[in-house]
Symmetry: C2
């Protein structure tokens, strides 16, 4: 990914099965990423209860991460003030690091976000993952002091771009960094037609990931990496490796993209 030109990497994001790793494993992933990131910015995912999130952030800082991405709180309920306080706890634990909030709830308002950025100048970005480009555009306009990132990956990036997205998260990037970077290039150039051409190219594999209520999200990528000879296809419960029929679909998609599928 870094050789291909990716400028920012996120160890311990959803694709990295954040929620299935122990603290020791999470820290090992950060350390290995810092070691291999070259010049890329390392944005370590942190989360769980506020105290654990703050501790993970401090440990990531010690391991050389440049920033942290705070996963949406796992708590089933949240309030505006509670959301602000949660993120403050993390941001204040690592004043020297950039902090990116991962917003998945439409209940969190621009006001809450402004309260947070007012209190914590190191909150520099938002990964916005509510599937609503209108709301995204409104939020981005109201809080221009942070960088807005489409948190729903390539599938949604072209539709968040007009509202102020300046980047997007990606799982696909672990198998197809060049394709993802070409999409970014077209979006930055304002070439919507060119962007949509690439969008159509990557849509089949993103659709396969979205299947079964996103149950395939990570497993498709691990399967692809296994077929490309990069790593094992194993994932941990509550997700599972793909059945044979879907493995064949991954093979077909990779072949259509002319990727060197081996015997895995």
């Amino acid at each position: 990914m870094v050789s291909a030109g990716i400028g920012a990497v996120t160890p311990n994001g959803n694709t990295g099965e954040f929620y299935s790793l122990s603290d020791a494993e999470l820290n090992r992933v950060v350390a290995l990423t810092v070691e291999s990131a070259g010049g890329a910015t390392v944005i370590a995912g942190v989360g769980h209860d506020a105290a654990r999130a703050a501790r993970l952030a401090t440990e990531a800082a010690g391991l050389g991460a440049h920033a942290v991405m705070v996963h949406q709180p796992v708590h089933p309920y949240q309030s505006q003030q509670g959301w602000v306080d949660y993120h403050r706890t993390v941001a204040e634990a690592v004043p020297g690091l950039g902090v990116v909030c991962y917003l998945r709830s439409p209940l969190i308002t621009a006001k809450a976000l402004k309260d947070l950025t007012g209190a914590c100048p190191n909150v520099v970005g938002v990964k916005y993952a509510v599937p609503d480009p209108v709301r995204f555009a409104e939020m981005a306009a109201e809080v221009p002091e942070v960088t807005w990132v489409c948190g729903l990956a390539e599938s949604w990036a072209p539709f968040y771009w007009p509202g102020g997205a300046r980047g997007y998260t990606s799982g696909l990037v672990v198998i197809l960094p060049e394709l993802s970077l070409r999409l970014l290039d077209r979006l930055q150039a304002g070439d919507t037609g060119g962007a949509m051409e690439l969008w159509r190219l990557l849509k089949p594999i993103e659709d396969l990931r979205a299947r079964h209520g996103n149950g395939n999200n990570v497993s498709v990528l691990k399967e692809a990496l296994a077929q490309l000879g990069v790593c094992r296809r194993d994932v941990r419960p509550p997700i599972s490796p793909l059945p044979d029929s879907e493995r064949d679909e991954v093979t077909a998609v990779l072949r259509s993209l002319r990727l060197p599928v081996g015997a895995a």
Copy 2:
């Protein structure tokens, strides 16, 4: 609660802010509950990644809990097989304890549940929290070997009852055990009219809890407990204590139910 006649208590459920507690705190809550539960069944909430959930279950068993309730996995994605494997990991760690699954995703099928009960005879109950009584009735009919519990508390209990609910979860029970037990009694007696009369009585406080996308869910109960002189109103981020205006609404509801509101 136990003096009032509650037969089963769940330390480390959502009302207990499960997701905001450390393992040491979770275990202390189980120990204190076992100590004060008298003859009531203690069903300890466990969760997070599979390994941590299994470890918490083992520790709860060691502390004297009779059963565990497995919170829905926090992982943003799950597959049928992954869901089965996750719960198997926990159930097999405590073969001598009853296991209750907490189902919040409509994607988990009766087949997955049957695979689990087939493999793990100690899976004895389901807390079903998908707001869909039709689906609840279908699932309950397809997997009759477990006890089905309405996981959406008193508000939904009367509507899950015809489909096979034999109990319901409750947060309200921490302040109004008698009212909740009267509802149970009416439901067990098949007295729908009587049940709905009680339902209308408890609806205002449940509505207040549901406000702000359920952001008030726990805070209203803590506020009520504080006003009743039982404990402090503190909650941890990402939730927050109620603002003054809503504190007054809690006072009004408690007064209408003739509960002894003190100066808190």
